[in-house]
């Protein structure tokens, strides 16, 4: 092999070293991102218009847009959305605050470590929606049982992420703080908290999507207003256009949450 290359004296393509490191390097393309939406919706509309997709099984994009418009102008959407957002924000904040506190204690103190990890490991795998009937018995059918379900669901992943984040703070930074005689509270506030923040914030993405799932499930079990209630009611009446409109609202809600968390990331983790 090496002899062949060495002996070749022509300037032809065959004696050039071939570039081999191709591929495995996907790049972002915003145009293609938007185009994919346009293509999928256009195909969907085409299928509906030609009758290939039955209107009862899957309403056309135009029908969904009309249903959404109806919900907006009648004011129903805001009523449902306001109820859902209250539950989502309230439940998520409660679960997150409790989860951060417990997570920090598990991450830092020997006495909290093993009991905390054991309890969280045992309770985390329970699908929290299975506990909703219990919460309804405890707190009644109204708002508190929904807050509790969401908060409970958010709590466990937050604990796991927070103590993982605290564990991941470089020990040498903590030792550095101690070697300068920084008081414990300063070490926590100025070294451990910011060091754990990247992990905690990525945990927010998981806990917020869990919160949305539990929100809809709880609203489907017993609520007058809320996006989950809207979707369930529409399904019961075979109003698939309204049903899909509700699902579209959920998708937009998820995108908004993810955008907000992205902003939070950039604001708090600008140093990275």
């Amino acid at each position: 092999m090496s002899h062949e290359v060495a002996n070749s004296t022509s300037d032809g393509a065959d004696n050039k070293v071939r570039f081999r490191a191709t591929g495995f390097n996907p790049k972002a393309n915003p145009v293609a991102a938007w185009a994919s939406f346009v293509v999928v919706i256009a195909l969907w509309q085409l299928g509906s218009s030609t009758g290939f997709i039955s209107e009862l099984a899957m309403p056309s994009p135009v029908a969904v847009a009309q249903a959404l418009w109806q919900l907006i102008v009648s004011g129903d959407l805001w009523r449902h959305l306001a109820a859902s957002l209250q539950r989502l924000v309230g439940g998520w904040v409660m679960g997150t605050v409790a989860g951060l506190i417990v997570g920090f204690m598990v991450g830092m103190f020997t006495w909290a470590r093993s009991p905390g990890v054991a309890l969280v490991s045992a309770l985390f795998p329970i699908p929290k929606i299975a506990l909703l009937p219990l919460f309804i018995i405890w707190f009644g059918i109204g708002e508190p049982s929904k807050f509790a379900t969401i908060a409970f669901g958010v709590f466990f992943p937050t604990v796991i992420n927070t103590f993982g984040g605290v564990d991941n703070v470089q020990r040498n930074l903590i030792r550095m703080g101690q070697s300068f005689d920084m008081p414990m509270w300063s070490v926590i506030r100025k070294i451990i908290l910011p060091g754990a923040l990247p992990t905690i914030l990525s945990g927010f993405r998981i806990s917020s999507s869990i919160a949305i799932i539990l929100l809809i499930a709880a609203e489907m079990i017993g609520a007058q207003y809320g996006i989950g209630a809207l979707i369930l009611a529409a399904g019961n009446l075979y109003q698939t256009d309204q049903l899909i409109a509700g699902v579209v609202v959920l998708s937009l809600l998820g995108l908004c949450v993810s955008w907000l968390l992205g902003r939070l990331d950039r604001w708090l983790l600008g140093w990275r």
């Binding site: 930074l173 550095m176 070697s179 005689d181 920084m182 100025k190 070294i191 910011p194 983790l269 140093w271």
Partner: protein
């Protein structure tokens, strides 16, 4: 401040890292700890600064004299710099001053002073990730100087740097010691650093770590230059002293975490 290490021994599980170390660090003296990996030199430095509890023995402060405005008598400079990536250069220095009763003006004055001493004034608002290794270690030095330490404890401060940067910083350390008469304990495995900076070089033997020999270098630090014949001779003598240990360390299987 005079530090007396009295009868210090330390064990990690089965491994006996240090045995019966007795050593006094005199005020104004730079002591280098050298020896092959696993000889316990970093362990000893951690014990000296109170970051590791020895299995037995004590480190005593005989003489409480401290520099004016000293906030943290025993102050480390770390091999890996230990800078907070979310704080700027000035913020990293401010970190170690914030918990002391200094006014904002006093704090800022100290930060400016140490930044000027380490030629970092133009980098005060830079983040660590923007800095080269040498600059990062200058921040580590500036942070240590900001608390006006009585004894500087330096744990292989140049080991994470490339060869050229090492030469530059070695000159700066040499200037610092010559100018300030700082008391320091300097851990290194680089004999060249030891002979450039130390008044006394303590060679450690390994497993268990004991003092093999204390080697004095009687040339003023300010008079020492790279490649100076006497220093080369000292370096050679030290190498002869620890060569066998280094060979043994090189052949050993890693069994200490």
């Amino acid at each position: 401040m005079r530090l007396t290490i009295k009868n210090v021994s330390h064990r990690y599980d089965q491994v006996e890292a240090l045995r019966d170390i007795d050593l006094t660090i005199e005020p104004g003296e730079v002591v280098a700890l050298i020896g092959p990996s696993g000889c316990g030199k970093s362990t000893l430095l951690s014990i000296i600064g109170g970051m590791l509890k020895p299995s037995s023995g004590d480190v005593l402060i005989d003489d409480q004299a401290k520099p004016d405005g000293c906030l943290n008598p025993l102050t480390y400079v770390f091999q890996d710099f230990a800078l907070l990536p979310w704080r700027t250069v000035a913020g990293n220095i401010s970190l170690v001053l914030e918990d002391h009763p200094l006014s904002k003006a006093e704090r800022d004055a100290r930060i400016e002073e140490v930044l000027a001493q380490t030629n970092l004034s133009d980098f005060r608002d830079a983040y660590p990730k923007q800095l080269s290794g040498g600059m990062k270690q200058r921040v580590g030095i500036a942070r240590a100087l900001a608390v006006r330490p009585a004894v500087l404890l330096m744990d292989e401060p140049l080991s994470a740097l490339d060869a050229q940067t090492r030469i530059l910083l070695l000159d700066e350390f040499s200037d610092l010691f010559a100018r300030t008469g700082m008391t320091a304990v300097y851990v290194t495995h680089n004999l060249n650093e030891a002979v450039r900076l130390a008044h006394r070089v303590v060679a450690l033997r390994r497993r268990p770590g004991t003092i093999k020999e204390i080697h004095s270098i009687d040339i003023p630090i300010s008079d020492r230059t790279e490649g100076m014949a006497e220093l080369v001779a000292h370096e050679q003598a030290l190498w002869n002293l620890i060569r066998d240990e280094a060979v043994a360390a090189d052949k050993e299987l890693e069994n200490v975490a």
